[in-house]
Symmetry: C2
Subunit: 207 residues, 2 copies
């Protein structure tokens, strides 16, 4: 499978980077083809211009390349910290610019954008890994966990990606090395399970 | 009152710009002092660096100026379109970089960031104006309206701003000129009411 892995964290020594490394290695070891972007390291420009807004608007080559990868992906993995119940601005800009009309969704004829869009992505599975310093109970009870709605409902449901999985590792700032090692193993298991093709593992004589 | 007005939309001819103009004019006419930023027009850089993350990290002068205005504000007005249940990346970057520890919130002694922060903003009132092409019912039922959680709970509650008001104008793309005129009047009324100082209007003899 072709899997797109998008990382949005400014610190190369962050736990987010460790998660991304483990995921890319695990998926490559399983024979998948990985398209990986460390948006900070690549100096991605997150600012959507007004010229890019229309479906037939002007798209710079660098963004068009991102769009082609998104279209080609059989699976999508996103990794970022929870900043104010949202991704970092840099990753929000990847959403704004790459998850475009005509690429990830379209409106039916006669619908100028007020109706219900049709998802266009080929990917059947998306997984989001988050890091946070807020425990799950407080995130849900006090903040309402907007990242769950953003990724599951606003983005992947709308773009036609049927299987969605999200795992938040918390609390990072007080975690031990052993805890973080355990989380990396968990990240490995999640992506290997999600992107295994059914039937491939079972090589018994009756199959 | 000193009122900070932040606008995040790429098109100078947008309805978001019209809302911002009406609000600034209305508040100035009422004697308020306005600090206004059209983030796109100013070329605001939305990318938080790792050096800025610690409370005592290095802050560029341009960001420090934004922080001082946020601290000085008695009221805050935010205007932006709903893009994927979130603000545009450019405005998300203003949140990431300006709503800082030590400026907008702090952690108690002995709390390294895993606990419950204390809000520091002087502003007592914040109002968010959004534009959208999704009707309210669909935004709530299908998407869960993450912007409500983001602005009310994740940001202004956390930073100690007690009064929060949000108004989404929709559906923009199919709206008539008369409808948009009505919405601008509504935006005028909302800010004038919210930022009127109690007692000032009533000049009757018994007061």
């Amino acid at each position: 499978m072709k899997i797109l892995v998008i990382l949005g964290h400014p610190d190369q020594l962050s736990f987010n980077h460790a998660i991304a490394s483990v995921i890319c290695e695990s998926l490559r070891a399983d024979g998948h083809s990985i398209m990986f972007h460390d948006l900070y390291a690549e100096g991605f420009d997150p600012v959507l211009t007004k010229e890019e807004i229309p479906e037939d608007g002007f798209i710079p080559d660098s963004i068009a390349r991102h769009c082609r990868e998104l279209q080609a992906a059989d699976g999508i993995v996103i990794i970022h910290p929870n900043w104010w119940g949202q991704p970092p601005a840099l990753l929000k800009g990847w959403i704004d610019r790459v998850i475009r009309p005509g690429i990830a969704y379209r409106f039916d004829e006669g619908d100028s954008g007020e109706g219900i869009p049709v998802g266009l992505l080929k990917a059947r599975t998306a997984v989001v890994f988050n890091t946070s310093n807020t425990p799950d109970e407080r995130e849900v009870a006090v903040f309402g966990d907007p990242l769950e709605m953003i990724w599951r409902r606003c983005i992947f449901d709308l773009c036609g990606v049927g299987t969605f999985c999200r795992r938040t590792f918390n609390v990072i700032i007080t975690s031990t090395l052993a805890q973080r090692r355990h989380w990396l193993n968990e990240a490995h298991d999640i992506v290997v399970d999600l992107f295994s093709e059914p039937g491939l593992e079972n090589t018994g004589p009756l199959d």
